[in-house]
Amino acid sequence: MAPETATLEGQQVAATPAKQPTRTDNFVFGIPQDGLQTKQREVPLDEPPPLPPNSELTYIGKPTQRYDGPAKATGKGKYTADVQLPGMLYARMVDATIPHGHIMSIDTSAAEKLPGVRAVYVIEHVYGVAELRNPKLDGPSRYPTIRYAGQPIAGVAATTQQIADDAAKLVKVRYDAKPFVVDRTEARATDAPAVFPGPADEAGSAGGGGGPADVPQKGNVHGPERRKRGDTAKGFAEADVLVESEYFTQVQTHSALETHGFVVDWKPDEVTVYASTQGTSSVRSEFADVFKLPKSKIRVITEYMGGGFGAKFGAGNEGVVAANLSRKANAPVKLMLDRRQEHIVSNRPDSHQMLKIGAKSDGTLTAIQLTSYGTAGVGTGAGTAGPATNMYKCPNLLTDEYDVFTNAGPGAAFRAPGHPQGCFAFEQTIDELAVKLNMDPLALREKIDESPARKVERQLILERTNWRNRKSAGSDPGPIKHGMGIAQSVWYRFVNMDSSCEVRVLRDGSVELMSAVQDLGGGTKTILAQIVGEEFGMAPANVVIRIGDTRYPIGPDSGGSVTAGSITPAVRDAAYQAKGKLFAAVAPALGTTADNLATQNGRVVFKNDPSKSYSLRQVTAKLPTDEISARATRVAEYSKDRLTYGGVDFVELAVDTETGRIHVEKVFGAHDCGRPINPTGVISQINGGMLQGISYALFEQRIMDDKSGYMLNANLENYKILGAREVPEIEVALIENYIAMSSTDAAGIGESAGIITLAAAIGNAFYNATGVRMRRIPMTPANVLAGLGKVQREVMA
């Protein structure tokens, strides 16, 4: 099925170029539960042989301890926030205290005079926000227009963090304040204050941030971006039943544990950037653009990373400020955002969605129509049509997505951009359809869903959960009501061809892998070690993995779940080729030919004489040079098929209808992501996605004060995130789905890992418990009691 809404920048699915010499290989294909098949593919000649299924492999597909787990658990792993360099200065960002207006003047003299202050830098351009199509409309000013409270204005570097903090407060900014609007509904009014004086667009970012350009804009309403398939009017006319629904979701902030931040060491011959980033390569590109430097003079390092979720790709305002301060002060500068700033720097846009679905009485969908409004503050990218467009078979579709500008911090890509919002509305509407059709929600999906993987996943739900004992909606007698619900997700296979690495084999038997790719915490280092280990018959923990440094071959930016699917084939290819070079180099000394050598059970053996067997070290000792190495770059996908991944998640919960508290008791998820390389890592990602999904469904919400334009809960006590006591029993069933697309068949799991489905599954379970539809998240006591009709709530949209 074609992912029509997939607009992740820089991630192209490339077809095999015609000219390359190829051979035909037979690949394992399909899902074990359905019976594995064989698929023939043309592959380039120097590709390694096809991998057998996981059950026949030694390290790949086996639960493997996190490569850097001990270093993280003991505090040895150094995150950007931990970097200490000789002579390093500490910086603090100064940000706007008004939500909209012009800066009349900035007086930095008091800050500069504070003992210990070494540099002050005033921002000339704001990054990561929408920009006017006609920049002249902002009028002449030395300073960027302020469009949200918390917009970066300047940075101060000093010898201690305390001095930098004090100095930041001494920077005096005079404003000419303008009317503002922070509420999405109010911003849509024709007489609302205009956030931008004319049409504005935000460029896309790796990972799916930003939104469409070239769409109409009226006032603050940017769009629609319209997508059409078939004829919805005709489809609705053919329908036996129609459901129309309306749903609302809130703004969620990324709230990474490690705030956005950089340490920049600006030297004339090279700028070294320690970045808390998802893309060493995208950070290097933006630094090169902003500072007009050749990429070769910029080195970006990300050894350990404390969470990004989509919001950490470029240099950002923090990086640009840190670099300018470092250049001015002639010293390394560390600039980490504080917790308040972290809440304002990025978010998942909110949404107001109206859906209409038509179906035949057997469930067959005849038409889907979605209109959505969402605010990404001063950015764009609030579309929600992904699930409605790409999940089910439906000939007629019409989606209109609008961005609504408000004077609030910009949205950014956030774990499956648009999908959690879209799924909350769409998968509940599908459930509403099931109710109207008097069909079991799983059976309805069986009818309309063509994905073979989700078919198996639904079967697992039936076999391994309580689903068959589901009672009719709202049938529990007391105030505490129990219910079950499911929801499905879809995500897309994207591949980033900027995926290269080098494998080195040394005479002492050590093996090293190098790539600029970064590990966000998802376990990239571990899977790379498994793949190299599999080729050399070496325990993954003994492979040396050096990644997260642009001095190594370029790696993919980690957005849209591309990392595993992009880099692992390059790593296997490099390891395979390095092994070939090793065998060729040592074969004469061993008295044989290279093609007679193979690795088996951790040893190098003669194919024609299994009694001849050596340890890897005995073999490398025969190397004529101290080191041999091979470099490989991602080979194009073996087929042009466009694939999606997904999952089906099941929730069992209790609703306390007198307190409005929801107790999620059990989550069962069945998920697929191609060939799982490290099931432990994949399941850990899914656990995390589910928890983030529950947190989104029940607790998290940005609260803006309409009167001042400030975010009132820019902290971690009133911005509520799920904690240990809210963690339900979780079970994950991971299915293997062999796709014959690359030398590893690996795929990422970051997006379709529960974050997409949980709010919808909880909504569906809530309906099953109470007979009432929750049309709004987060499902706090206030919203739940209002939803149950127990209290009047303020009219709000």
């Binding site: 205290t97 409270a149 305390q162 306390d656 007198e658 307190t659 409005g660 508290r661 107790h663 029940l698 607790f699 609260i703 803006m704 004060d705 309409d706 009167k707 001042s708 400030y710 009132l712 809960n713 006590e717 009133n718 509520k720 799920l722 904690g723 240990a724 006591r725 809210e726 706090t780 006591p781 206030a782 009691l785 209002a786 127990k790 209290v791 009047q792 709530r793 303020e794």
Partner: protein, 334 residues
């Protein structure tokens, strides 16, 4: 955070000698340091009393319970005699905040912590409670989902002290010591509603130190309970909490006190709920009637009407818990 002097004291006299001239008492420091880091308060001097041994200790006698103000919430929660005879107090201490906070937080600091209101606790906005010349309460027409639903016409803050709820219900007294001497203040006189002073929440004067908290021994037949409701269980503030002390004669309730936390700017007793319970057999219907009665004068703001429903539930379930007719509520946090 401002620059400040820090003095570490070993005795009450030493601490009293250091108070005055913008000095502030520091006990566990949980609330005080938060407020300093957010630039809401900027004391010139911190008088650390954590090492004043005479302010520590819990003694139970025939007269009642004597608590040093440095008793931590964990110590109170884990104390077997308090669990047995003053269960609402151990419930409250054991369900406030988080385990880590409870290990640090002291009883004196807990009842003296400043109120919750995101406008009051924001550096960015001024309000009448901050005394900076503003005459506004932003919560009344602003974002007020966590704010007071009663007595909220002057200032809609709430005071989140969990322990103050049972202490009020148990007629506790607070011993205040200054250079001039000691005075005992009943819990019912300890907090000052905003109508009387929008700046100060308590009667504690500059130069005064809480040196003890005394809870009289319960009358025979006393049963008590406290429950706290929030949006989540880990690391959250109460949005409704209730403390109930019943003097029972068989199934009959001779005397009741029903105390509501975070309903009003300060913890309050509900005479209306108490009247419903007194002289009655406790069952679900009476308990629910008490909950309704407690809320009859509620004046919710634009976004906190749900707290009226929540308090009714909190009260009826806590009355039944105190009476031994219901299990601890899974929806009550902590």
């Amino acid at each position: 955070m401002n620059k400040f002097a820090f003095v570490d004291c070993k005795t009450v006299d030493e601490a009293l000698g250091q108070l005055g001239d913008g000095a502030t008492v520091k006990a566990g420091g949980i609330d005080l340091l938060d407020l300093m880091k957010d630039d809401i308060v900027f004391p010139a001097k911190l008088v650390n009393i954590r090492n004043v041994d005479s302010l520590r200790g819990i003694t139970v006698s025939a007269d009642g319970l004597q608590l040093g103000p440095l008793s931590t919430l964990s110590e109170i929660a884990d104390h077997p005699e308090i669990q047995r005879s003053y269960s609402a107090l151990s419930d409250a201490a054991g369900h406030a905040a988080t385990p880590q906070v409870r290990n640090m937080a002291t009883l004196g600091g807990n009842i003296m912590q400043r109120p919750r209101c995101w406008y009051f606790r924001s550096t960015d906005v001024d309000c009448k409670k901050k005394g900076g010349g503003s005459d506004e309460c932003h919560a009344q027409a602003g974002e007020n989902q966590y704010h007071a639903i009663m007595n909220n016409s002057t200032c809609a803050m709430v005071h989140p002290s969990s322990t103050a709820v049972p202490l009020l219900g148990m007629d506790a007294q607070v011993e205040l010591t200054s250079k001039r001497g000691k005075r005992m203040v009943l819990m019912s006189n300890f907090y000052v509603p905003p109508e009387k002073s929008v700046i100060n929440e308590t009667v504690v004067q500059p130069g005064e130190l809480i040196t003890g908290i005394f809870v009289p021994a319960p009358a025979p037949g006393t049963r008590s309970a406290y429950q706290k409701y929030g949006e989540k269980e880990s690391f959250d503030w109460p949005i409704a909490d209730a403390g109930v002390v019943l003097v029972m004669d068989g199934a009959l309730c001779r005397k009741a006190s029903v105390v509501l936390g975070v309903a009003a700017p300060t913890p309050i007793r509900s005479k209306a709920a108490e009247a419903v319970l007194t002289g009655k057999t406790i069952d679900e219907a009476t308990a629910r009637a008490a909950g309704k009665a407690a809320m009859q004068d509620a004046t919710p703001l634009s976004q906190n009407g749900y707290k009226v429903q929540l308090f009714q539930t909190a009260i009826y379930r806590t009355v039944l818990l105190a009476a031994g007719q219901m299990q601890r509520d899974p929806s009550a946090i902590g």
